[in-house]
């Protein structure tokens, strides 16, 4: 059993607290992604789990055992670093077999396990090369190979793909997913890229300023973001978020424009309340060019002016001016639109989100 649990975990550097008592339970064989903007404490948290960073308060347990003061080598973990951290003076095979050599395993066992890992990752022909002779993607694979060979209880990934170009990143993302399906270990994966988190993880932990904002499946954090921050962070392009005041069953936006108050929220807000209205680009589209949720009476049309379009082939992102700002919508089966053209945009309010303007919490 390789569960990982964090209990009120705290990290302080001098008097500055970086991680503020976070708690999290990772179940056996789960793929968890820690995601958040830089400086949110996700890498520090990972390094505390790895044992590379001293724990200022709280507990880390791996497989139920308290590991707070255990050195990294006794935690039976593997880590893939953002920088890959391959040993430049060793060949690929030596890099991958290093942990087994240190553990004093016999030569033939090391060779066998390195060969197995090399087969999984397609590294066979590269075993005798040195890291400097490899491309970025190959180095990345060697770093993963080194992690696999140990057969650890827990894999830790620290932004492993952020040094790769966009195409290779997508490719390696798929490989990591396949790898997890094959080795079935517990994985804790740190990234600032929400797409990586969404595509890879069983559950996503969204962190901000040393606190956990939300823990949930990709679907949960996308469909029911717990806060304004999560709503803005998850999803690409990001959710349209705008401050509004509740008045007579309507939402009054910035410059006096109004939208109907979404039906599902009517009971939860009071007149005069300041809220943040959120609508995903998927739920804002030129009439007839989107997938609405099926509640026709919850679709609200507005005649807006297009400011710019971004064609993506199968769809086009449409930026239209409303209530003093640009709103981004997604047009399926795109038709050509010119900037300055007037277009009827449908607001699918059944999918709208409301957050408290003060606390940012979901209403």
């Amino acid at each position: 059993m390789a569960t990982v649990s964090l209990n009120k975990l705290v990290k302080r550097y001098g008097s500055t607290e970086i991680v503020h008592g976070i708690s999290l339970d990772v179940t056996d064989r789960e793929f968890i992604a820690l995601v958040g903007p830089s400086g949110c404490g996700k890498s520090t948290t990972l390094r505390m789990i790895a044992g590379l960073e001293e724990i200022s308060g709280g507990e880390v347990r791996i497989g139920g055992q308290l590991v707070n003061d255990l050195p990294p080598r006794t935690r039976n973990i593997s880590m893939v670093f953002q920088s890959y951290a391959l040993y430049p003076h060793m060949t690929v095979a030596e890099n991958m077999g290093f942990s087994l050599k240190i553990a004093g395993r016999p030569r033939d066992e090391i060779d066998r396990r390195v060969a197995e890992a090399a087969t999984i990752l397609g590294l066979g022909p590269l075993l005798e090369r040195r890291p400097s002779q490899l491309s970025g993607g190959q180095r990345q694979r060697v770093a993963m190979g080194r992690a696999i060979v140990r057969d650890p209880d827990v894999f830790l990934f620290d932004e492993p793909l952020s040094n790769l170009d966009a195409k290779l990143r997508t490719q390696m993302r798929t490989e990591i997913k396949k790898l997890h399906a094959k080795v079935r270990s517990t994985v804790i994966y740190v990234t600032h890229d929400q797409v990586e988190a969404m595509t890879l993880a069983d559950r996503i932990v969204i962190m901000r300023d040393g606190y956990i904002e939300q823990v949930g499946t990709p679907d949960e954090v996308f469909r029911r973001p717990a806060s304004r921050f999560v709503a803005g962070f998850i999803g690409s392009p990001p959710m349209n978020l705008v401050e509004a005041t509740v008045e007579d069953g309507r939402l009054t936006l910035e410059d006096g424009a109004t939208l109907p108050l979404p039906r599902q929220h009517r009971e939860r807000v009071a007149a005069g309340q300041r809220v943040v209205f959120g609508l995903r680009p998927d739920d804002l589209y030129p009439a007839g060019h989107g997938l609405h949720s099926g509640e026709a009476e919850e679709v609200h049309d507005e005649r807006l002016t297009v400011t710019i379009t971004e064609p993506l082939g199968n769809e086009t992102l449409v930026f239209a001016a409303f209530a003093g700002r640009d709103w981004v919508g997604r047009m399926l089966n795109p038709k050509p639109l010119r900037p300055g053209e007037a277009v009827t945009m449908s607001f699918d309010l059944a999918e709208a989100h409301l957050f408290d303007a003060g606390s940012g919490k979901r209403l």
């Binding site: 790895a50 044992g51 590379l52 050195p71 990294p72 080598r73 973990i77 593997s78 880590m79 670093f81 920088s83 890959y84 951290a85 391959l86 040993y87 430049p88 003076h89 290093f98 942990s99 240190i102 553990a103 040195r130 890291p131 400097s132 002779q133 490899l134 491309s135 970025g136 993607g137 180095r139 990345q140 080194r146 140990r150 040094n163 790769l164």
Partner: protein, 288 residues
């Protein structure tokens, strides 16, 4: 002539001028060394001749023969001096490199109070000319009774070399990414093992350079050694050169011969170690 041809011609002329310039500079650097070798092989008359005799008329190994002939037959205790030089230089180098590794690693990896101050202080000691310290050092050593001993000389040379080795090795450890030692610890190493298995081999070229510099400093040092050594017990080769000066004469040929004997081991060591001075060994460790 078209423009391409003239540019090509200019490029060739420039590269030829470059080669000639380098050859001249090389000659200027090597000439004193060659002159010493040459002077060790010819009679004093020819050495002192004005204008200089460029092409020697006769060459002989008499000076070398005499040097090893023993006292009373024009010889000096060159074997003793050589042994002293070797013991003092090797020991002081080993100690200075060991301290340099520990210190350099600490400065490169750890954060501690007064780090910058310590580092600056170490560097500032380099600004004091060694010879300025020779008199106070002589008094202290005389009181401690370590004049004319290997230990005294080794101590002085270690003090002389440590700031330099710390500074040089610090720079090399800084180039070894921190991630590597961390990866090694995750791979099952203790901090100690991570150092020896990963960081040490990668900083190796720097440590080798520091060792060469420390060795050459100790091997060639004259000013302090001439004060702190008295007899064959501790006199090093550079001090041994003084044996060729008498009250009214200087045996230039003998002195040059001893200088050649001194240069050979230093040159050999440098050749052996420079193979390992391959820089850029860390390339490929991190990033793409």
């Amino acid at each position: 002539m078209n423009e391409n041809a003239s540019h090509r011609l200019r490029k060739r002329l420039l590269s030829a001028a470059h080669t000639i310039g380098l050859a001249l500079a090389m000659l200027a650097i090597c000439l004193p060394g060659l002159w010493i070798v040459l002077s060790s092989l010819r009679p004093t008359v020819e050495i002192m001749a004005k204008p200089p005799v460029w092409i020697p008329e006769e060459l002989s190994f008499d000076a070398y023969r005499a040097m090893f002939s023993g006292i009373g037959r024009g010889g000096i205790p060159v074997i003793d001096y050589f042994r002293n030089s070797l013991i003092v230089s090797l020991t002081s180098t080993a100690v200075a490199v060991a301290i340099g590794m520990a210190g350099g690693y600490a400065f490169a990896r750890f954060r501690f109070r007064g780090k910058t101050g310590w580092f600056l202080g170490l560097m500032l000691t380099r600004t004091v000319p060694g010879i300025a310290l020779s008199l106070p050092l002589f008094f202290v050593y005389a009181r401690l009774g370590i004049i004319d001993s290997h230990f005294g000389l080794i101590l002085a040379y270690v003090a002389l070399n440590v700031p330099f080795t710390v500074w040089l090795i610090d720079g090399f450890f800084r180039q070894v990414p921190r991630d590597l030692a961390e990866a090694a610890q995750i791979d099952g190493c203790t901090r100690w093992q991570a150092f020896w298995q990963v960081e040490f081999p990668l900083a190796g070229p720097g440590i080798a350079s520091a060792a060469i510099f420390a060795f050459l400093t100790s091997w060639n040092e004259f000013a302090l050694a001439s004060q702190l050594t008295r007899s064959v017990n501790s006199k090093t080769l550079p001090v041994g050169l003084l044996d060729y000066t008498a009250e009214f004469t200087i045996d230039w040929r003998g002195m040059c011969a001893l200088a050649v004997v001194m240069i050979i081991p230093a040159l050999t060591l440098t050749f052996i170690v420079q193979k390992h001075l391959v820089s850029g060994l860390t390339s490929g460790a991190v990033k793409g």
